[in-house]
């Protein structure tokens, strides 16, 4: 039976139409023509074809968030063309500008704003051209559906520029639509990808095929630092369709004619691995973290003399908060297709959130000029940070080079759980001093977290194969939000950047910002309790007077949750089920999106079972392009982070990860998802900020604060499992 379905052909045709419309029909994997991709060129972002169809080229990719629809709204709004006439090309190193990785809640804030400026520049240019053509001043022209009209005459965008590239620079001061004139931006437009996804017609990277494509699977070491001493190819001789075993150092992979043969071959291949037991003892992970050499000390806030203030305070409070190692746990294991053309050029298709960076990494690993590599984004399963897609692309590239044919690699579930880069362990010590009125007079925080920022996470294949790589760790920008948005008279927050961390680290949704917010906002709650103060009132006491938007989200969440003003914990702890509520606030990275939350929980005093029953959230990310899409992100942040807060924890022995599937790494289930009440604050006249991460930051602290309110017991170690809760209640 022909493996290429009719749907596949239609899809391939559709993909080709995009390229064809701009004269860039790719004739094979490697035959491509560069178009302008410099971020200051309008042509890098936009083209208009002879039929008036608009193509948006964007470096930020849709990781399942719906951002594609948002980009279409922005372009449609500024150009006055219907959304149906817009196509979007994302994350293709030959076609789209390098706008950095799709991370950090920056896709609208940076990527969308850049697109808006390009579209506004294009519109002004088109109006000037039309003015000349129609003999009517630009100011007297109007645009509807891509047709410029004035003085009784009209001309279409297609007639003005159809098929020719824009040649001007982006003017970031080009006038954009005023809030009152917007018709598409600010509306909850239905996402363009959802119909195909619910009818089984969407082409994920997992569904992508190339002519002559083979299937590959990596065979990873059973101990993470082991090397392959010998490979017995005869062990898989009985499997029909095996094409090649590839072995280089600790990199081992198989290639076969069919996917099932590749899976069987990877499963059955006998490899003699060396012993390795270089991981720390999980039971003593925090001792290990404290004993890790510090590479760099970063002070992120420093005002007054907090040490002296705490020393002289009426009351002193201290606490240590830890947050477990997490996997991304992608629903769809990482997948990529790699193909070398006859001219030696490499093309990869993957769900990489950073194709421009992946291109450089693959070139480095393979010893190729970067110009010889093209990386194309295709959507995968939801991605909340740098997971395994880049690594799958590297696996596929090594295997494709070995066999000289296109190779598709999809990881198995255990490959994903064991080998994706991990959210590193995060430890924060806190100390505060209170005066006689309970006010904070000094605050000190020390975080023990790996060094590095948001660079390139090394490719596993390069590491295992002993191939060139940067050999640095990059856990993301994990120092933010250890500094606080509050007006304490004396404060010092210090990040002790550790030289190593047990697993290759990367950023998972709200990296560091969430863990730091968790520690700070939970500890602030401890201070409020010590001061016998209401937790909302206590926060408002220290909210800077010049930050009305922060005050507003906090006051609004209190109203939304019908907050009863009183100190925590609640006093009636007689029943078996104890109920409580906790509040939290964040100003993301202290410069953007404001979020406040109230969690309500029930704790079974006997069993320790924790149930989050309701979750209230107020959210101010400035202008919203698509309010329903923002709401979906807030919902996703809350649920994903409740899962991480209550259940998720990587387990490992001295050699490898032992939480290798969804049974040993459990995540939130439908019955555990609370009712959510979300209030979005729209500010159409403000600049748009990000929404993909900030609401995750407030979840763990809201939950532990609510648990404390219910039980009088403070949990300081994520995940807040039933076992930890029961032990804490028994110790109380």
């Amino acid at each position: 039976m022909n493996a290429i379905s009719k749907r596949g052909l239609l899809k391939a045709g559709g993909a080709m139409m995009v390229a064809f419309s701009i004269g860039l029909r790719p004739k094979g994997a490697a035959a491509w023509t560069e178009k302008p991709v410099a971020g200051d060129e309008v042509a890098a972002f936009l083209s208009i074809d002879a039929q008036g169809g608009v193509t948006v080229y964007i470096g930020k990719v849709d990781l399942g968030t719906g951002i594609r629809t948002g980009f279409m709204q922005i372009a449609a709004e500024e150009l006055d063309v219907p959304m149906a006439r817009i196509r979007v090309v994302e994350g293709d190193t030959a076609l789209t500008p390098d706008q950095g990785p799709t991370y950090g809640s920056l896709s609208i804030q940076n990527g969308g704003v850049a697109l808006r400026a390009a579209a506004a520049t294009a519109r002004r240019e088109l109006l000037n051209m039309a003015a000349e053509r129609l003999g009517t001043p630009a100011a007297q022209l109007s645009v509807a559906d891509g047709v410029v009209s004035g003085g009784g005459r009209s001309v279409s965008y297609a007639d003005l520029v159809g098929g020719r590239a824009f040649t001007m620079k982006v003017d970031t001061n080009a006038p954009i639509k005023a809030p009152g004139a917007r018709r598409i931006v600010g509306q909850s437009v239905a996402r363009v990808d959802i119909p195909d996804k619910v009818f089984g017609r969407f082409e994920y990277v997992h569904d992508f095929k190339r002519p002559g494509m083979l299937h590959g699977r990596p065979v990873r070491p059973p101990a993470m630092g082991a090397t392959a001493q010998s490979v017995d190819e005869s062990s898989i001789r009985g499997i029909p369709g095996v094409v090649r075993v590839v072995h280089q150092g600790a990199f081992v992979g198989v290639v076969a004619e069919t996917e099932w043969a590749a899976i069987r071959a990877a499963r059955d291949l006998k490899v003699t691995w060396s012993n390795w037991a270089g991981l720390p003892d999980q039971a003593r992970i925090w001792e290990h973290v404290r004993a890790t050499p510090v590479a760099q000390v970063q002070v992120t806030s420093d005002r007054g003399n907090p040490a002296a203030a705490i020393q002289g305070a009426t009351r002193r409070v201290s606490g240590t908060y830890d947050f477990a190692i997490h996997t991304h746990g992608s629903m769809g294991p990482s997948c990529a297709v790699a193909e070398f053309g006859a001219d030696g050029k490499l093309t990869t298709w993957s769900a990489s959130q950073a194709t421009h960076n992946l291109r450089k990494q693959l070139a480095m690993m393979l010893g190729m000029p970067v110009e010889q590599v093209r990386c194309v984004y295709l959507e995968g399963a939801g991605c909340y940070g740098r997971n395994g897609h880049e690594d799958a692309a590297a696996d596929a590239a090594l295997l494709a080079r070995a066999v000289g044919r296109p190779v598709r690699v999809q990881w198995m579930r255990a490959d994903e759980h064991v080998w994706d880069p991990k959210g590193p362990p995060h430890l924060v010590d806190l100390r505060a001093g209170l005066d006689a009125q309970g006010n904070i007079v000094g605050w000190e925080a020390d975080a023990f977290i790996p060094k590095g920022a948001g660079g390139n996470v090394d490719l596993t294949a390069a590491e295992l194969g002993g191939l060139p790589r940067e050999n640095q760790i990059h856990p993301g920008n994990i120092i933010h939000n250890l500094a606080l948005p509050y007006a304490f008279p004396a404060i010092k927050t210090t990040c002790h950047r550790l030289d190593t961390t047990p697993f290759r680290p990367s950023w998972i949704r709200t990296p560091g910002r969430m863990q730091n917010t968790y520690a700070n906002e939970a500890f602030l709650d401890e201070c409020a309790a010590a001061a016998n103060a209401d937790p909302v009132e206590y926060r408002l006491r220290v909210m800077p007077a010049d930050d009305p938007r922060g005050r507003e989200v906090l006051e609004r969440v209190a109203r939304l949750a019908n907050w009863q003003t009183r100190p925590s914990p609640q006093q009636d702890r007689s029943g078996e089920i104890l109920r409580g509520r906790g509040v939290t606030f964040v100003k993301y990275e202290l410069v953007r999106t404001y979020v406040a939350a109230v969690a309500e929980v029930e704790v079974n005093r006997r069993t320790g079972a924790i149930r989050v029953t309701r979750f209230f959230c107020t959210h101010d990310c400035g202008q919203m392009i698509n309010p329903d899409a923002v709401k979906a992100q807030v919902e996703g942040n809350i649920i994903h982070t409740l899962s991480r807060t209550l259940k998720e924890e990587l387990t490992f022995d001295r050699s490898t990860v032992t939480s290798r599937d969804w049974g040993s790494y459990q995540v939130i289930t439908f019955p555990e998802v609370p009712e959510m009440v979300i209030e979005l604050i729209d500010r159409p006249a403000e600049r748009p900020w990000g929404a993909g991460e900030p609401a995750a930051a407030i979840v763990p602290s809201a939950v532990t604060n609510a648990i404390f309110d219910a039980t009088g017991v403070r949990l300081r170690s994520v995940p807040f499992t039933t076992q930890k809760m029961r032990a804490a209640l028994q110790g109380a």
Binding site: M1, I4, F199, F670, V673
Partner: protein
């Protein structure tokens, strides 16, 4: 070594040739029949992304040897409905915008379709229980529940 397996996929008779009858149905559907609605998620029957209907029952196609599908009626997401004639669940998932990445949506819809076939008017708790073994990482859960209840009322 090879053998042929005949079955009906979305109303169409198909015969595929396999060299291992123990190959899971999922790979036959995706690579031999060419329907990509069902996704590989775990290969362990834990996540639900590969769910299809076999003779009207929802099953995890990663756990069914292709040989066991011989002579059976297989329905995948593609066969449930089309844009022109959507299943009530497909229409409801669009109306509720109950998808983020959508990798799990196949399982959510196919499992819910099996639920509604037996329990046309489920309670919210019944919906959550029916989907308790379907994993979603994006956090679409409340929209999925709303979509299933909407479809049930339609």
């Amino acid at each position: 070594m090879t053998e042929t397996v005949a079955m009906t996929v979305n109303g169409r008779a198909v015969t595929i040739t396999v060299d291992d009858p123990q190959m899971p149905l999922l790979y036959a559907l995706r690579n031999d029949v060419g329907v990509t609605g069902p996704h590989y998620g775990c290969g362990l029957g834990q996540c639900g992304a590969c769910t299809v209907h076999v003779n009207g029952e929802s099953v995890r196609s990663c756990q069914v040897p292709v040989a066991d599908a011989a002579g059976k009626r297989i329905v995948t997401l593609e066969g449930l409905g089309t844009p022109e004639r959507p299943h009530a669940l497909q229409a409801a998932f669009i109306a509720e915008q109950a998808v983020q990445c959508g990798y799990c949506a196949n399982g959510m819809i196919m499992e819910s379709a099996a639920l509604l076939a037996k329990t046309p008017r489920p309670t919210e708790a019944q919906v959550k229980e029916a989907l308790a073994n379907n994993i979603c990482r994006c956090g679409t859960h409340p929209r999925v529940v709303a979509a299933v209840l909407r479809a049930a009322q339609g």
